[in-house]
Symmetry: C2
Subunit: 132 residues, 2 copies
Amino acid sequence: MKYIEKLRNSGLRPTKQRLQICEVLFDADKTFHFTINELEKKIKKQINSKISLATVYNTIHAFEKKGYLKQIPINSNQTYFDTNVSDHHHFYDLNDEKLIDLENCDVGPINILKKINGKKIKSVEVLVKLED
Amino acid sequence: MKYIEKLRNSGLRPTKQRLQICEVLFDADKTFHFTINELEKKIKKQINSKISLATVYNTIHAFEKKGYLKQIPINSNQTYFDTNVSDHHHFYDLNDEKLIDLENCDVGPINILKKINGKKIKSVEVLVKLED
DNA sequence: TAACTACTTTATAATGATTCTAAAAAAGTG
DNA sequence: CACTTTTTTAGAATCATTATAAAGTAGTTA
Protein backbone atom coordinates (compact mmCIF):
# COMPACT_ATOMS: atom_id res chain seq x y z
CA MET A 1 0.00 0.00 0.00
CA LYS A 2 1.41 3.31 -1.13
CA TYR A 3 -0.36 5.32 1.55
CA ILE A 4 1.12 3.50 4.53
CA GLU A 5 4.37 5.40 4.24
CA LYS A 6 2.64 8.68 3.63
CA LEU A 7 0.62 8.32 6.81
CA ARG A 8 3.53 7.07 8.91
CA ASN A 9 5.71 9.92 7.74
CA SER A 10 3.20 12.40 9.01
CA GLY A 11 2.77 10.69 12.35
CA LEU A 12 -0.60 9.15 11.61
CA ARG A 13 -1.05 5.44 12.18
CA PRO A 14 -2.05 3.73 8.96
CA THR A 15 -5.33 2.28 10.06
CA LYS A 16 -7.73 0.46 7.76
CA GLN A 17 -10.12 3.39 7.79
CA ARG A 18 -7.48 5.98 6.98
CA LEU A 19 -6.13 3.90 4.13
CA GLN A 20 -9.60 3.45 2.70
CA ILE A 21 -10.23 7.17 2.89
CA CYS A 22 -6.88 7.77 1.18
CA GLU A 23 -7.97 5.54 -1.68
CA VAL A 24 -11.21 7.40 -2.17
CA LEU A 25 -9.54 10.77 -1.96
CA PHE A 26 -6.26 10.28 -3.77
CA ASP A 27 -6.74 7.41 -6.22
CA ALA A 28 -9.29 9.35 -8.23
CA ASP A 29 -8.38 10.32 -11.80
CA LYS A 30 -8.96 13.97 -11.10
CA THR A 31 -8.86 16.05 -7.97
CA PHE A 32 -12.30 16.97 -6.67
CA HIS A 33 -14.30 19.05 -4.22
CA PHE A 34 -16.45 17.53 -1.53
CA THR A 35 -18.39 18.01 1.64
CA ILE A 36 -18.17 15.48 4.47
CA ASN A 37 -21.62 14.21 3.56
CA GLU A 38 -20.75 13.69 -0.07
CA LEU A 39 -17.57 11.96 0.94
CA GLU A 40 -19.38 9.61 3.27
CA LYS A 41 -21.67 8.51 0.43
CA LYS A 42 -18.70 8.09 -1.89
CA ILE A 43 -16.92 5.93 0.66
CA LYS A 44 -19.98 3.75 1.15
CA LYS A 45 -20.29 3.20 -2.58
CA GLN A 46 -16.62 2.79 -3.42
CA ILE A 47 -15.36 0.80 -0.47
CA ASN A 48 -17.76 -1.83 0.69
CA SER A 49 -17.68 -1.03 4.37
CA LYS A 50 -19.02 1.63 6.62
CA ILE A 51 -16.77 4.14 8.32
CA SER A 52 -18.20 5.99 11.26
CA LEU A 53 -19.07 9.60 10.54
CA ALA A 54 -16.91 10.71 13.48
CA THR A 55 -13.95 8.93 11.93
CA VAL A 56 -14.53 10.62 8.61
CA TYR A 57 -14.52 13.99 10.35
CA ASN A 58 -11.42 13.13 12.36
CA THR A 59 -9.55 11.85 9.34
CA ILE A 60 -10.43 14.74 7.09
CA HIS A 61 -9.34 17.22 9.70
CA ALA A 62 -6.11 15.32 10.31
CA PHE A 63 -5.42 15.26 6.57
CA GLU A 64 -6.17 18.94 6.25
CA LYS A 65 -3.77 19.74 9.08
CA LYS A 66 -1.09 17.72 7.33
CA GLY A 67 -1.71 19.56 4.08
CA TYR A 68 -3.23 16.66 2.13
CA LEU A 69 -6.47 18.55 1.74
CA LYS A 70 -7.49 22.18 1.55
CA GLN A 71 -10.56 23.82 2.92
CA ILE A 72 -12.27 26.05 0.40
CA PRO A 73 -13.30 29.41 1.84
CA ILE A 74 -16.91 29.78 0.89
CA ASN A 75 -20.06 30.53 2.78
CA SER A 76 -22.19 27.47 2.84
CA ASN A 77 -23.87 25.51 5.56
CA GLN A 78 -21.40 22.75 4.87
CA THR A 79 -17.61 22.92 4.69
CA TYR A 80 -16.05 22.22 1.31
CA PHE A 81 -12.72 20.48 0.90
CA ASP A 82 -10.48 20.10 -2.11
CA THR A 83 -8.11 17.25 -2.92
CA ASN A 84 -6.25 19.70 -5.13
CA VAL A 85 -3.73 21.18 -2.71
CA SER A 86 -1.82 23.14 -5.31
CA ASP A 87 -1.92 26.90 -5.08
CA HIS A 88 -5.12 27.72 -6.95
CA HIS A 89 -8.48 29.46 -6.84
CA HIS A 90 -12.18 28.82 -7.40
CA PHE A 91 -15.21 29.81 -9.30
CA TYR A 92 -18.43 29.39 -7.40
CA ASP A 93 -21.52 29.07 -9.54
CA LEU A 94 -24.29 30.69 -7.52
CA ASN A 95 -27.07 29.18 -9.63
CA ASP A 96 -25.84 25.59 -9.66
CA GLU A 97 -24.06 25.85 -6.30
CA LYS A 98 -21.01 24.25 -7.84
CA LEU A 99 -17.30 24.85 -7.45
CA ILE A 100 -14.92 24.94 -10.40
CA ASP A 101 -11.13 25.08 -10.15
CA LEU A 102 -9.40 28.17 -11.38
CA GLU A 103 -5.73 27.51 -11.81
CA ASN A 104 -3.18 30.02 -10.75
CA CYS A 105 -2.17 30.63 -14.34
CA ASP A 106 -5.77 31.61 -15.16
CA VAL A 107 -5.52 34.52 -12.75
CA GLY A 108 -2.92 37.17 -13.27
CA PRO A 109 -0.33 37.59 -10.48
CA ILE A 110 -1.80 38.99 -7.29
CA ASN A 111 0.08 41.64 -5.48
CA ILE A 112 -0.83 42.34 -1.88
CA LEU A 113 0.48 45.83 -1.27
CA LYS A 114 -0.73 46.25 2.30
CA LYS A 115 1.38 44.71 5.04
CA ILE A 116 0.26 43.83 8.54
CA ASN A 117 2.87 44.23 11.26
CA GLY A 118 4.30 41.00 12.60
CA LYS A 119 2.15 38.84 10.36
CA LYS A 120 3.12 36.94 7.27
CA ILE A 121 0.96 35.82 4.40
CA LYS A 122 0.11 32.16 4.52
CA SER A 123 -2.15 31.99 1.49
CA VAL A 124 -3.96 34.11 -1.06
CA GLU A 125 -7.23 32.69 -2.27
CA VAL A 126 -9.55 34.14 -4.87
CA LEU A 127 -13.23 33.26 -5.05
CA VAL A 128 -14.98 34.29 -8.24
CA LYS A 129 -18.76 34.15 -7.97
CA LEU A 130 -20.63 33.36 -11.15
CA GLU A 131 -24.24 33.88 -12.14
CA ASP A 132 -26.27 33.23 -15.28
CA MET B 1 -35.38 59.21 10.00
CA LYS B 2 -32.97 58.85 7.12
CA TYR B 3 -33.42 55.11 6.86
CA ILE B 4 -37.17 55.16 6.28
CA GLU B 5 -36.71 56.15 2.66
CA LYS B 6 -33.90 53.67 2.15
CA LEU B 7 -36.06 50.82 3.36
CA ARG B 8 -39.18 51.92 1.48
CA ASN B 9 -37.22 52.27 -1.73
CA SER B 10 -36.12 48.69 -1.50
CA GLY B 11 -39.56 47.36 -0.73
CA LEU B 12 -38.96 46.77 2.97
CA ARG B 13 -41.40 48.23 5.44
CA PRO B 14 -39.62 50.57 7.80
CA THR B 15 -40.43 48.81 11.05
CA LYS B 16 -39.07 49.87 14.42
CA GLN B 17 -36.76 46.86 14.52
CA ARG B 18 -35.35 47.40 11.06
CA LEU B 19 -34.69 51.05 11.77
CA GLN B 20 -32.90 50.17 14.98
CA ILE B 21 -30.77 47.64 13.19
CA CYS B 22 -30.00 50.24 10.53
CA GLU B 23 -28.76 52.59 13.23
CA VAL B 24 -26.45 50.00 14.72
CA LEU B 25 -25.13 48.95 11.33
CA PHE B 26 -24.89 52.19 9.41
CA ASP B 27 -24.51 54.99 11.93
CA ALA B 28 -21.14 53.67 13.10
CA ASP B 29 -18.07 55.79 12.44
CA LYS B 30 -16.38 53.02 10.55
CA THR B 31 -17.64 50.01 8.67
CA PHE B 32 -17.22 46.77 10.55
CA HIS B 33 -17.39 42.99 10.41
CA PHE B 34 -19.77 40.98 12.53
CA THR B 35 -21.44 37.68 13.19
CA ILE B 36 -25.13 37.52 14.07
CA ASN B 37 -24.21 36.81 17.67
CA GLU B 38 -21.91 39.78 17.95
CA LEU B 39 -24.56 41.96 16.34
CA GLU B 40 -27.21 40.81 18.78
CA LYS B 41 -25.03 41.85 21.71
CA LYS B 42 -24.25 45.16 20.06
CA ILE B 43 -27.95 45.84 19.53
CA LYS B 44 -28.75 45.00 23.13
CA LYS B 45 -26.08 47.40 24.38
CA GLN B 46 -26.64 50.22 21.92
CA ILE B 47 -30.42 50.26 21.63
CA ASN B 48 -32.16 49.66 24.89
CA SER B 49 -34.61 47.05 23.71
CA LYS B 50 -34.50 43.47 22.72
CA ILE B 51 -34.99 42.33 19.15
CA SER B 52 -35.83 38.70 18.63
CA LEU B 53 -32.97 36.63 17.25
CA ALA B 54 -35.19 35.47 14.39
CA THR B 55 -35.80 39.09 13.43
CA VAL B 56 -32.09 39.82 13.44
CA TYR B 57 -31.51 36.91 11.09
CA ASN B 58 -34.40 37.93 8.84
CA THR B 59 -33.31 41.52 8.69
CA ILE B 60 -29.66 40.78 8.03
CA HIS B 61 -30.58 38.45 5.21
CA ALA B 62 -32.99 40.97 3.77
CA PHE B 63 -30.32 43.67 3.92
CA GLU B 64 -27.79 41.38 2.33
CA LYS B 65 -30.16 40.58 -0.51
CA LYS B 66 -30.67 44.30 -1.08
CA GLY B 67 -26.93 44.90 -1.14
CA TYR B 68 -26.67 46.81 2.14
CA LEU B 69 -24.41 44.14 3.59
CA LYS B 70 -21.93 41.65 2.22
CA GLN B 71 -21.25 38.17 3.38
CA ILE B 72 -17.56 37.47 3.80
CA PRO B 73 -16.51 34.14 2.28
CA ILE B 74 -14.57 32.46 5.03
CA ASN B 75 -14.75 29.09 6.67
CA SER B 76 -15.93 29.55 10.17
CA ASN B 77 -18.68 28.03 12.22
CA GLN B 78 -20.42 31.38 12.07
CA THR B 79 -21.23 33.56 9.08
CA TYR B 80 -19.43 36.89 8.89
CA PHE B 81 -20.98 40.01 7.44
CA ASP B 82 -19.48 43.32 6.45
CA THR B 83 -21.10 46.73 6.48
CA ASN B 84 -18.48 47.78 3.93
CA VAL B 85 -20.20 46.94 0.66
CA SER B 86 -17.58 48.50 -1.55
CA ASP B 87 -15.61 46.21 -3.79
CA HIS B 88 -12.82 45.06 -1.49
CA HIS B 89 -11.03 42.12 0.05
CA HIS B 90 -9.95 40.70 3.40
CA PHE B 91 -7.10 39.57 5.51
CA TYR B 92 -7.94 36.81 7.92
CA ASP B 93 -5.62 36.50 10.88
CA LEU B 94 -5.53 32.81 11.69
CA ASN B 95 -4.00 33.34 15.13
CA ASP B 96 -6.35 36.03 16.36
CA GLU B 97 -9.29 34.88 14.21
CA LYS B 98 -9.84 38.45 13.10
CA LEU B 99 -10.79 40.00 9.80
CA ILE B 100 -9.11 43.10 8.40
CA ASP B 101 -10.22 45.03 5.34
CA LEU B 102 -7.99 45.06 2.33
CA GLU B 103 -9.02 47.78 -0.04
CA ASN B 104 -9.11 47.19 -3.74
CA CYS B 105 -6.25 49.61 -4.25
CA ASP B 106 -4.08 47.52 -1.93
CA VAL B 107 -4.36 44.58 -4.29
CA GLY B 108 -3.11 44.86 -7.84
CA PRO B 109 -5.71 44.43 -10.59
CA ILE B 110 -7.04 40.91 -10.84
CA ASN B 111 -7.48 39.41 -14.25
CA ILE B 112 -9.62 36.32 -14.56
CA LEU B 113 -8.46 34.75 -17.82
CA LYS B 114 -10.65 31.67 -17.75
CA LYS B 115 -14.24 32.06 -18.92
CA ILE B 116 -17.16 29.79 -18.15
CA ASN B 117 -19.74 29.39 -20.89
CA GLY B 118 -23.01 31.19 -20.25
CA LYS B 119 -21.90 32.52 -16.89
CA LYS B 120 -20.87 35.99 -15.94
CA ILE B 121 -18.69 37.13 -13.09
CA LYS B 122 -20.62 38.60 -10.22
CA SER B 123 -17.77 39.25 -7.84
CA VAL B 124 -14.09 38.59 -7.28
CA GLU B 125 -13.07 38.24 -3.67
CA VAL B 126 -9.61 37.71 -2.30
CA LEU B 127 -8.96 36.21 1.12
CA VAL B 128 -5.42 36.57 2.42
CA LYS B 129 -4.70 34.33 5.37
CA LEU B 130 -2.15 35.63 7.87
CA GLU B 131 -0.12 33.88 10.52
CA ASP B 132 2.50 34.98 13.03
C1' DT C 1 -61.48 55.93 11.84
C1' DA C 2 -62.64 51.27 10.51
C1' DA C 3 -62.00 47.30 7.90
C1' DC C 4 -59.06 44.64 5.39
C1' DT C 5 -54.89 42.63 3.52
C1' DA C 6 -50.15 41.74 3.43
C1' DC C 7 -46.08 41.81 5.82
C1' DT C 8 -43.35 41.46 10.13
C1' DT C 9 -42.11 40.07 14.64
C1' DT C 10 -41.78 36.80 18.11
C1' DA C 11 -40.89 32.74 21.04
C1' DT C 12 -40.14 28.37 20.47
C1' DA C 13 -39.37 24.14 18.06
C1' DA C 14 -36.93 21.80 14.49
C1' DT C 15 -32.99 20.99 11.66
C1' DG C 16 -28.59 19.74 10.54
C1' DA C 17 -23.55 20.08 10.51
C1' DT C 18 -20.08 19.37 13.59
C1' DT C 19 -17.92 18.11 18.00
C1' DC C 20 -17.77 15.53 22.28
C1' DT C 21 -17.72 11.34 25.12
C1' DA C 22 -16.28 7.29 26.87
C1' DA C 23 -15.87 2.58 26.02
C1' DA C 24 -14.10 -0.96 22.79
C1' DA C 25 -10.71 -2.02 19.27
C1' DA C 26 -6.38 -1.69 16.99
C1' DA C 27 -1.55 -0.31 16.51
C1' DG C 28 3.02 0.15 18.19
C1' DT C 29 6.73 -1.33 21.42
C1' DG C 30 9.66 -4.10 24.24
C1' DC D 1 2.53 -11.64 25.18
C1' DA D 2 1.90 -7.49 28.21
C1' DC D 3 1.46 -2.88 28.11
C1' DT D 4 0.74 1.88 26.50
C1' DT D 5 -1.04 4.99 23.21
C1' DT D 6 -3.84 6.02 19.51
C1' DT D 7 -7.97 5.32 16.95
C1' DT D 8 -12.64 4.03 16.05
C1' DT D 9 -17.27 3.99 17.15
C1' DA D 10 -22.25 4.93 18.27
C1' DG D 11 -24.67 7.93 20.22
C1' DA D 12 -25.32 12.22 22.76
C1' DA D 13 -24.49 17.10 22.95
C1' DT D 14 -23.75 21.57 20.94
C1' DC D 15 -24.70 25.42 18.42
C1' DA D 16 -25.77 28.26 14.30
C1' DT D 17 -29.45 28.74 11.50
C1' DT D 18 -34.18 28.03 9.70
C1' DA D 19 -39.08 26.90 10.13
C1' DT D 20 -43.58 27.53 12.39
C1' DA D 21 -47.59 29.60 13.54
C1' DA D 22 -49.79 32.92 16.33
C1' DA D 23 -49.94 37.84 17.51
C1' DG D 24 -48.77 42.43 16.07
C1' DT D 25 -47.97 46.24 12.77
C1' DA D 26 -47.99 48.80 8.38
C1' DG D 27 -50.24 50.21 4.38
C1' DT D 28 -54.52 50.97 1.82
C1' DT D 29 -59.05 51.95 0.77
C1' DA D 30 -63.34 53.73 2.00
